[in-house]
Symmetry: C2
Subunit: 348 residues, 2 copies
Amino acid sequence: MTDRFTFDRLVGFTASILEAQGVEPAHAETCARRMVEADRRGRTGHGLIRLAAYSTRIRAGGYNLAPDIRTLHETPVSALVDGDNGLGQVVMTRAAELAIDKAATSGIGWVGTTNSNHAGAAGIYPAMALDHGLGAFYFAVANGNGMPPWGGIERLLGTNPIAFAMPAGHEVPFELDIATTVASHGTIKVTAQAGEPMPEGWVVDADGNPITDPNRADEGFLMPIGGYKGAGLNIMIGLLAGVMTGSAFGRDVVTFRTDHTTPTNTGQAMIAFRPDLFSPLEDYRNRVDAKLTELRTSRTLSGDPVRLPGERSRSLALASDQQGIEVPPALRATLADLAAELGVAPLA
Amino acid sequence: MTDRFTFDRLVGFTASILEAQGVEPAHAETCARRMVEADRRGRTGHGLIRLAAYSTRIRAGGYNLAPDIRTLHETPVSALVDGDNGLGQVVMTRAAELAIDKAATSGIGWVGTTNSNHAGAAGIYPAMALDHGLGAFYFAVANGNGMPPWGGIERLLGTNPIAFAMPAGHEVPFELDIATTVASHGTIKVTAQAGEPMPEGWVVDADGNPITDPNRADEGFLMPIGGYKGAGLNIMIGLLAGVMTGSAFGRDVVTFRTDHTTPTNTGQAMIAFRPDLFSPLEDYRNRVDAKLTELRTSRTLSGDPVRLPGERSRSLALASDQQGIEVPPALRATLADLAAELGVAPLA
């Protein structure tokens, strides 16, 4: 028995699990690809580890398994995708493909989603734009609130991520994928599992005192990056992904972790763009390569090169392609149980 | 003698100073309006306090006083503005107006600048979009480098700001204007002038130890907000404002504070957009008002309302309109000297 599996094997398994619960084959395949892509790139918190929770929600009736995903308010540069409470990865994939098409044709494509759901790793959607030679921004309202607005004590904001990608020539593309809180729920969970304390600055209580026991994190508030600055970015993302799209933000946000039935009305937004909006593509490529090389090879104390955003996920993806994607024992056991319950052939 | 002056009086004075040094009247007026608008909104670090430095640069021959500001690579949704080394506020105003026109017509308008210069407070350009009922992003490469890439020790990055605005209905519009470093040069200067130490986390030395003496800040490195996250946002901004536009970034950046003659080839970018891309305007307005109200009136420890990004600058602007804009004694003395040198009537 091996711990590592090919991308296609994991996609096939994941799609089978979804199909066995009533998800139509094309949607199951799309959702599986996005989930396994997260694992492939090392964003394990948004990969197969989520399959059990998605399955719980599917069986609780929290998803529409035959959604009528529709495009509304379309212009040559924009559209709103109504996900009809379908799987978030499926809805957001449709939105990303539409943004990419519009950007390829019109230079820019801005597509929002409404009635979507948790769509996994933020960075995988801008990465789809990279595959078409495009750059992209991605914004999402997180599926649970753990942070008050700056100066407040009421949890109305989530980890609202921003992701961004810019293509390069021969250099590794620039890819950013960050929560606007210092720590995410996933990071805190990993810390708790390791039996380690959280550093100060991740979570505070209502009086502003640090909480360092990760098992007590839910008693406190997540902290934004850079104080009021990150708190502002967090609301900016909420306005773009939630409010502009008519999706949930603030008090409307449904806690995905504990509420398995209420439609989440999740909102996301992607802005894809041609990197050659302002100059011939070859000129752009030469400039971006020169600058990424300059940053990467700039001086460090150790003499090792600087690691730019995107390099780690790229090298993990290459390793996954060569050695397979690792499925840790605990996750493997969970997936085996799920497969047994559903009469699906286990991973092997 | 009063310390406070009307907006128009300060614009007139500033324009006279610029004109007396050879700036053409229309450009002098535009630059003056943008500078005084910064003071009006309380962004005093980017207002009249900069007039002496701009004047030094003008007289050193660092600006082109008769620039041929041209639009290149234009599409219905995008354009590059070549500022021909003109005053940054003039170039960026042209770019903002073009982005606003394109957004009003096409839904989105993305305009970059090249051969521009320091353009003052980031937030004043998205604010121009608000005046037309539009939202906007603004990105700029700062005019000096004080920060290495994350993991490095070579100063290749500046305070690269992001600004963002979204219109509302009856609520105060959301306006964000932040450097992606914890502290800016301006904030450090104010701290030094007050004789106070800097908090830990603003500046570190090459070994990562905090520097708290603001007079020693130049020996250290500025810190990004949120560690590697803010460092990534900082590079994202540089790619958008500098690399895509063919402007300076990294080693090419000219230190505006000390080099008064080398063309800076500054780059900025603004993306203006219709907030009703995805729904009727009235629906958008109702949603954004409801959410901003919800955040603002959410619970606080003190019982005072939450202050959202944009509220402070809005209330300072209203106070400026009612009571005049304050010119502190030290700045007033500098401006009086400048006026005397140039034979311009002093502020009175």
